[in-house]
Amino acid sequence: MRLKNVFATRWGIIGVGLFIGVFAALLQKWGNPGNMGICVACFERDIAGTLGLHRAGVVQYIRPEIIGFVMGSLIAAYLFKEFRPRLGSAPIVRFVLGVFAMIGALVFLGCPWRAALRLAGGDGNAILGLLGLIFGIWIGTLFLKKGYNLGRTQSTHAAAGWMLPLIMLGFLALLIAFPQIEGQNRSGVLFYSLKGPGAMHATLLISLGVGLAVGLLAQRSRFCTMGAIRDFVLFRQTHLLSGFIALVAAAFVTNLIVGQFHPGFEGQPIAHTMHVWNFAGMVLAGLAFALAGGCPGRQLFLAGEGDGDAAVFVVGMIVGAGLAHNFGLASSPKGVGPYGIEAVIIGLIVCLFIGFTMRKRSNS
């Protein structure tokens, strides 16, 4: 007899949201950038930078939180016999969705988790991002209602399910083999930031520890910020949404206690005030998440439990980050990048194309 999964209950998901909110805010206190205790998009972008896939000097660091998310989920999946190696549900489409999800997120400057943390830190621009996220996911639900579907996965070799976890262990090995040298922007094969958000981080053990705990809890509870909004729009179900709201509330209270709450629109950390593009960037990201079936965090947890298609989405996001910075698509605190607006429009067209054309009924 298997134990009932307490994390799949209402209080389970709320507890996980509270945990993530508190520790994300604390990670900022412990060294991570402002309103960026955890940001899956930003952290994968930093990983792309440290590998030299882009050369934006201020965002280069192998974020141990990301490694922890995948490995924590893997551990939970093995402990509870839920590791199911599977893939084959239109991986190339998921790659493309990952690329554009990252581009959209970097126009806003954050994934849904960071949008929530920015709001909880008083950044009013996050409201535009969250509205864009909701709108993008709403478009996604219209496609889902019309039968949008990327097809079935097949079960596969356990080793295939291990690919992303092994890549993460490889990142950890690189981080340990080539640690940052004081005042140097290179260490062995890795690039490091001397200033900017890439130079701001909690210690390796703290980041990895929190990442592992979050990965474990999120795998058990199926925590997903895109699913939170999607399930409410599609089914009026508030299960996942209660976890997302708990995250915002917990981060807000923690920020108040440790003095990290600074309300306003101007001068917010790693944020810009171009409202239209904060909104539109997240419309693109939200639509791409909805079409891919999970927010960036959820894709990491799915990859940890053996979902190779989610792993392809993650790789798409890392490649997307490389493109976003090399092509000048990513925003900065000064505003959108030189080609950011064009990239959002192209991304929306690509996502609409995917939504309109891939609607084979699963049972036909």
Binding site: F80, G151, R152, T153, Q154, D231, F235, G293, D307
Partner: protein, 72 residues
């Protein structure tokens, strides 16, 4: 009449959408749903309960679950 839904290999929200479509079609009072992940099992059960149906049986096969739901 007993209706069967094969949602194996499909990720959420597909299994839930398929189940709700069948419930809303109103042609049946018992549905068997095949899924292959615990997440889908939980989501389908939660969705059925919210529609006033009850989960009467969950049996575990080789890498899959068969969920039986019945109209109360």
């Amino acid at each position: 009449m007993n209706t069967k839904i094969d949602a194996r290999g499909l990720s959420c929200p597909q299994p839930v959408l398929m189940t709700l479509d069948e419930i809303k079609a109103g042609k049946t009072s018992e549905i068997e749903i095949l899924v292959d992940t615990d997440t889908s099992k939980e989501n389908v059960s939660r969705a059925a309960t919210s529609q006033g149906w009850e989960v009467t049986d969950v049996s575990e096969g080789c890498n899959e679950y068969k969920i039986t739901i019945r109209k109360k």
